[in-house]
């Protein structure tokens, strides 16, 4: 069986098959797969016995539930007022320059996706960004390059272990 179908079954067993369990299940799939494919949404609809259009309608409402294929690490730069005032664009440029992608894109090897997001709640330590669930604050172009290098190294090591 497809691993995503297994995952969805497991999540449905864990949370339940009612409508009010939909969000935790969607979140569980995104946690594993980084995004919701059309296939996953249809599977979820089948598992919860509800229209696929309702699953799609709900999933696409939330900005943290991606429905396009995403990289292993999703970088979300805060673009709201204080971060924007304190040099968000420089951080963005540094990342774009280093990874050779622009906002909304994923690196060809599928390691990073770059997105902008609304207020992360770290205005006193602006500029801030999330990489998956980890927060990085008081960023400078140098600092952000170091952080990304660490992720790249981690990815390389992971790849070697995988071989």
């Amino acid at each position: 069986m497809n691993p995503v179908s297994d995952l969805i079954k497991t999540l449905a067993d864990q949370y339940g098959r009612n409508r009010n369990n939909l969000l935790p299940i969607l979140q569980g799939v995104v946690e594993q797969e980084t995004y919701l494919s059309e296939f996953s949404m249809i599977e979820i609809a089948r598992e919860l016995d509800m229209p696929a259009s309702e699953v799609y309608g709900t999933a696409t409402f939330y900005s943290f539930l991606e429905y396009k294929k995403m990289g292993k690490y999703i970088i979300r730069i805060c673009k709201t007022i204080t971060c924007s005032m304190k040099g968000k664009n420089q951080i963005l440029l540094a990342i774009e320059d280093m990874l050779k992608i622009t906002v909304g894109e994923t690196t060809p090897d599928g390691t990073f996706s770059l997105l902008q997001t609304n207020c992360l709640g770290f205005c006193h330590k602006a500029p801030a960004m999330l990489i998956n669930n980890d927060v990085y604050t008081e960023l400078t172009p140098e600092k952000v390059r170091e952080i990304l290098t660490q992720y790249l190294n981690k990815r390389k090591e992971g790849g070697q272990n995988g071989n």
């Binding site: 007022i81 204080t82 609304n118 207020c119 709640g121 205005c123 006193h124």
Partner: protein, 394 residues
């Protein structure tokens, strides 16, 4: 710079005396009515920004007869410039859980949720540990109460209470019509008390030290203390607990960088106060006779003279355009048109008088939008355009 201004600092919220077990036991042995009256007499108002009397909220829910009721802690802290709730949940989570349990006891609810925004996912493991410890103690004293975390998924609008219920029910986070109010019909259409994280932390203070201690702080109509999230052009950004009723000029003397031209009070959905109005503006809830009194969720963003208020407004409007749930037309189309409008005026495509049309549109949104998001866009829009019109034009 001297620091002898009239800001009254306080330290209740983050003072950790590790006495939550005693506070919980003591209060569970009191009569629900007595607890509600204590909360009402403290005049605690909702600290999320709307300022509804908390005691009354509990009372309304307690009066409804239903076997199933819920208590929800709103930790969907999405207002730009606000970050106090995260600090409370990471430093003194037991206070919040204890207040939730006391609330459950008062209204007759056995199940509770913390709706935590997706951006704060990193708090979840630690918070779950604390909740487990809390449950163990509840079992020990034979008090049947369960708290669960419900994760949000990145939608500002879900901080609106009825949108939050919809989200928890597995739907798009679109606000409902009110009434019915959550106290009567909330999550799963059951009576629900929904309080902001900070409100619950204050309730803990009240149930620990008594209503009078809280009531004696602040000013008339605005009792007690409040956490302020200070950011922007300030030498000391961070979270500060201050007594309500302070004047904005005192605040700026303390927190400004000496060149403060305006302060945004209450986040993007709040008001921008220009320098000339600092002296007559106080921070608290409505009802003051002299000057302007601004309610707030505690977001204070300072701007110095190097900032263009056009860029600030542009940033806010882009935020609202993205975060509008799209359900009602005034908000969905209004946000888009306001943003498009100021860009057109800036580029010269429209003349300066077009701003007056946009002000009317903002006013229309205030009257006709379904929920607080659409209604409050006019707050920042009008206060910025009226006070910094020249910056909008050229």
């Amino acid at each position: 710079m001297a620091t002898s201004y009239q800001l009254k600092r306080a330290d209740f919220i983050f003072k950790n005396e590790n006495d939550w077990e005693d506070v919980l036991k003591k209060n569970l042995s009191r009569q629900p009515n007595e607890l509600i009256n204590e909360l009402i007499s403290s005049e605690l108002k909702g600290r999320g920004g709307a300022g509804f009397p908390t005691g009354l909220k509990w009372k309304l829910s307690a009066e409804v007869k239903d076997d199933t009721k819920y208590v929800i802690c709103n930790a969907d802290e999405g207002e730009p410039g606000t970050f106090k709730d995260r600090e409370i949940l990471s430093l003194v989570p037991f206070k919040v859980l204890t207040a939730m349990a006391i609330c459950g006891y008062v209204v007759g609810a056995k199940e509770a949720y913390i709706y935590l925004r997706a951006e704060y996912f990193f708090l979840k493991p630690e918070l779950n540990k604390v909740i487990d410890e809390f449950h163990d103690f509840c079992k020990k004293i034979n008090f049947d109460f369960t708290i669960r975390i419900f994760m949000g998924s990145g939608a500002y609008i879900c901080g609106e209470e009825t949108a939050l219920f919809e989200s928890m029910e597995g739907k798009r986070g679109e606000p409902r019509n009110k009434p019915p109010y959550p106290a009567i019909s909330g999550y799963m259409n059951k009576p629900t008390v929904i309080n902001n994280v900070e409100t619950l932390a204050h309730a803990y203070t009240i149930f620990t030290y008594g209503a009078k201690r809280f009531y004696d702080l602040g000013v008339q109509y605005s009792r007690g203390t409040k956490l302020f999230s200070v950011s922007g052009d300030t030498p000391k950004p961070g979270i500060y607990e201050l007594e309500l009723g302070m004047s904005l000029s005192d605040f700026v003397s303390d927190f400004g960088d000496g060149d403060c031209k305006a302060v945004q009070v209450g986040g993007a959905s709040g008001f921008l106060v220009p320098r000339k109005r600092f002296a007559e503006t106080t921070i608290g809830y409505q009802g003051k006779l002299i000057g302007i009194s601004l309610p707030t969720g505690g977001s204070m963003m300072l701007f110095n003279s190097s900032r263009s208020m056009y860029n600030v407004l542009d940033n806010y409007l882009e935020f609202f355009r993205e975060e509008s749930c799209g359900q009602c037309t005034p908000c969905r189309v209004g946000c888009q048109q306001l943003l498009k409008g100021i860009k057109a005026v800036k580029s010269g495509e429209k003349n300066a008088q077009y701003l007056d049309k946009l002000l009317k549109l903002a006013e229309t949104m205030q009257f006709t939008a379904k929920c607080g998001l659409g209604q409050s866009v006019a707050n920042s829009f009008s206060s910025i355009v009226e006070n910094f019109r020249e910056e909008m034009i050229y």
